[in-house]
Point group: C2
Chain length 337, copies 2
Amino acid sequence: MPAPFESLSEFRDLLQQLPVPDASAIAAARARDAVLTKPPGALGRLEDVAIWMAGWQGTACPVVDRPLILIFAGNHGVTAQGVSAFPAAVTAQMVGNFQQGGAAINQLAKAFGARLEVIALDLDRPTADFTEQPAMTEGEVVAALSAGWNAVVAGSDLLVTGEMGIGNTTAAAALAAALYGGGAGWVGRGTGVDDAGLAVKGRVVEAGLARNAQVLADPLQALRCLGGREIAAMAGAIARARVDRVPVVLDGFICCAAAAVLARLNPAALDHAVAGHVSAEAAHGRLLAHLGKVPLLDLGMRLGEGSGAALAIAVVKGAVACHSGMATFAEAGVSDG
Amino acid sequence: MPAPFESLSEFRDLLQQLPVPDASAIAAARARDAVLTKPPGALGRLEDVAIWMAGWQGTACPVVDRPLILIFAGNHGVTAQGVSAFPAAVTAQMVGNFQQGGAAINQLAKAFGARLEVIALDLDRPTADFTEQPAMTEGEVVAALSAGWNAVVAGSDLLVTGEMGIGNTTAAAALAAALYGGGAGWVGRGTGVDDAGLAVKGRVVEAGLARNAQVLADPLQALRCLGGREIAAMAGAIARARVDRVPVVLDGFICCAAAAVLARLNPAALDHAVAGHVSAEAAHGRLLAHLGKVPLLDLGMRLGEGSGAALAIAVVKGAVACHSGMATFAEAGVSDG
C-alpha cells in the first residue's frame, strides 16, 4: 500500500489529523499502577513510561514484544565541503556492516530482542550541496518521507528510528537552525571533527541557511532544502508510527532534528515519542528542550544508528514489564500501608 | 564451603587482601575498543563499562550471560519507633511476593535474563532497636555477612544485591551518618513518610548514633550496631563478588550504605562495582559522591529490591554486547577516517 501522500502539501495535511492517546487506557493504567505491590511512585519514571505506553497501545497492560529498529542511510552533497572526519564512502560501508551484523546497533538489537531493518536510500545519488542549491527536489523529499512511512512493519509495538549518513550532523544542525533560529550555534563535532572542522561546519550551515533563506520559514521546505533522505525518512516513519499508534523512542541529534520538523508543523505531533537519551553532540540537549522531552538515558553516546534509543528500549521494556507483570496488593496479600 | 571468616576481625583482614583487575585484559579491551566500527569514544560511557568489565572478568571480550540478583530481607527493631509508612509485617509479605514472582524485581529479572535468589534472614527475629542497644551481636552480624557471602552463585558474571526490610532506610541513614558524619541529614522519605514521619526518622537516627557512639568509629561496629541483617548480607555478597572477580551493580541508598562499610575499610574495595542508578531517596546522590561513583541511570526510582540496579543490568549488557560483538574496521571493510 503506498503512503497516503504524494506531495508535501498532502503530508502537511495529514499531520493536522493525528490520533490522540486512549484516555480510558490511560485511566485504567493509572488505576492499576496505584494498586501494584510497591509504594506509590516508587518506580519513578518507569511508571510514567508505562502509563504513556498504555495510552498509545490502547490497553491497561502495554507490552514491548515486537520492537522495531529502522536504520535509514543517505548521502549528503555537503560532504564536499569537508564537514566530516570520515569520507562519504563510509555510509555505504557501514550499511554493509549493518547487513553483516557487525555494527553497534546490531548488537543492541540482538541484546534487547528488536527487529532491525536497514534501508539505504539512493546512496549513489547524494543530495545536492545545500550551500549551492536545495538538497532535494519536492519529488525526492516526498520519496524519502514515503520510504520512511512504508518501512514501519505492521504489528510493531515500539519504534526506534536511527540513521547513518556521513555529513548528517551538518544537515541536522542546518535544519535545527531553520526550525528554531540560532544559526551555526547548532553545530557540533559529529563523528569527531577538530576545531578547524567545527569552524567549517559552522560556515557551511550559515551558507546553507543564506542560500535557501526564502523558503525556510516552512518546516517542510527546510527539510527539503537542508535535510537528507535519511532525515526525511525518519520523519516519515515517526509520522506513520503516530497514525498507527505505535510509540516511538527518539534517538540523538539527527533523529530529533527530523522529529522537530513534525513538531513545528503540529506541536502535538510527538506526543507518541519519548526521548531515549541525550547524546554528547553539543546541541542535542537544547533540541530536546525545544521538543519538551526529558531523556531516559544520559551516557555520553554520540554514535547515531539509533544506538541510544535502542539502549532505551530496555528501559521501556523494564517499565512495561513491571507495570503489566506485577501483582497487586490484593493478589499478593501484601498490606498497602 | 563456609565463609572464610568467623569474626569481624577476620572479615576486616580479608578486605585488606583483595584482588585487583586484570591489567592485560584491560589493555586488550582498550585496543579492541579503538578498532571497532565506530568513531572513537562514540559509545560514551558504554565503552568505559565494557573495559571495566573486561578487567574484572579477565578477558578482552566480557559477557553478561549469567547475571545474578540477590535479594536479602531482614526486619528491624527500630520500626517500633514508627519510622516507616508500612507495617513491619510487609517484609515477610513481600518475600512471599518475590517467591510468587509478583514483585517489580521479578519482572526486571525476567526481562533481562537474570537469575533471582531471595534470602530471608530471620524475619521473625528482628534486630534490636538501635536507639536502645546495638542492633546485632557480633555473632549475628557475622552470620548475616556469611549469608551474603555464601549466596553468590558460582559462575555468575554480574551481581546485583538488593534488599527488602521495612525500616531499613532509617538503618541505612544511621549507618551512613556513622561512616561519614552528618547525623540526621541522611534521612529521607523511604517508602513515603510524611513530614512528621521524616522528623521521627531524624530523631531516631540521632538517638541511635548517641546510644552507640562509643564504637561507631569502626565501620564494622557501625554495621553491627546500626545496620540490619540484609544490609550486612549485601556487604558480605559484595565482598565475595570481589574475591571471585565478579563485577557488581550497586542499587540504591540502602545497598550503597552496605557497600560504604567496605569502602571505609578499604578505599579500593568497590573498584569492582558500578553505580546502577541514583534513586529519589534524598541522600543517595550524596552517598554515591562519597563512594566516587557516577550512576548509570537517573530515573527517580526508590523501590529497593535491587530494582534500579536490575534495570542497569541492561546498560551493562548493552555495553558488553557492543564491545564483544562488533566488527572491527578491518573485519568490516570500513574506512577508519
